[in-house]
Symmetry: C2
Subunit: 206 residues, 2 copies
């Protein structure tokens, strides 16, 4: 894309274009939209961004994004506290919550181990997970990380860190999605769905 | 998408999701990216947005976005000042500049007439275009607006406003794109490319 006629515009486009999935062309479209809108819209967006960065808090227990020291889920006495679901970020908490199938608590890692992106175990809230697990109140840890090399690496790293504690470590089931045709499932997924097949009665009475 | 665990996050997601082409899911991805990045990145983005809204200037002549009262193109003595190219916004100026085929000056409308989006002639810099044209220095106006109903409406509105002045009013050629097969061109485009056919020599010696 050619040079822009204004340094101010160039700066804003450059900043937007740093965001993932936003190229210079899209960034310019966003900037022109803001210029056409009321100034208030720009101010509100700008405020929201800076407040997010400056004031955001994380739950001291589960490390989920929260407006309070302890997140709503962690503070809820009706949630089972002996079962932890380990997820990558807040989106996964929302996804699991939407299923209404989990009544335990969460542990949000804030990412997964990825040498390519320079994310090591120390950048994630793994030490505090180990602490929580070692405190003895947890009886099961469900690993709900993505089924990628990075996810598997993180799974294995955490497994090694907590396997000395007497508890059940599970991972979410991998298999053919509900409603999907078998012929369209990839071989690894179909293979795992056969290896980890489920007794018939377990399904019937859900 | 389910409710978010934090009002700060909710606010930022809501603001990003107001931008065109960005839904709540993408907005959340952008916010999580900013939370994972250095705080400086958020501050710079926030600053750039607010400065764009507060400090942006438009050229007094062509109404293009500019850091100075008079844009670079308008201030350039080598550009022909008797020929004006009328475009919708700064992106079209860049597109025409990229062709290196135009050595005149521009007039940026800042949009096109669109009753659906509530944009009328008074929201655009049409009055100042009429003024420029009436000043008598302009001998040709090239209309380079999109070939849509809105573009045609704007073309016709401007034509009625300036037709009393003694000058040539043209529009950019519509036709089959260079490199395209005839069979894939739509009928209206192909039809216009035949109606507005070009003498052979004009092309040969370019």
């Amino acid at each position: 894309m050619a040079e822009l006629s204004s340094k101010l515009l160039e700066q804003a486009v450059g900043q937007f274009a740093k965001l993932p999935g936003i190229g210079r062309r899209t960034a310019l479209r966003l900037c022109l939209h803001l210029l056409k809108s009321e100034k208030d819209e720009s101010r509100q967006l700008s405020d929201a961004i800076v407040r997010l960065a400056e004031e955001i808090q994380y739950c001291q227990h589960c490390h989920n994004i929260s407006d309070t020291d302890i997140s709503q889920i962690c503070a809820d006495p009706r949630r089972e506290k002996d079962i932890l679901c380990v997820v990558e970020d807040v989106r996964d908490v929302m996804a699991v919550e939407n299923t209404s199938q989990f009544r335990g608590k969460y542990h949000v890692l804030g990412g997964i181990i990825s040498p390519i992106e320079g994310i090591g175990p120390n950048d994630l809230s793994i030490a505090s997970l180990v602490e929580r697990v070692e405190s003895g109140t947890v009886h099961e840890v469900i690993m709900a990380l993505p089924a990628t090399i990075e996810g598997d690496t993180t799974n294995y790293y955490i497994y090694k860190k907590i396997k000395h504690v007497d508890l059940l470590i599970t991972t979410i089931a991998r298999g053919v999605a509900v409603g999907d045709d078998l012929e369209f499932a990839d071989e690894i997924t179909l293979g795992r769905s056969i290896l980890n097949r489920t007794p018939f009665e377990t399904i019937l009475y859900r």
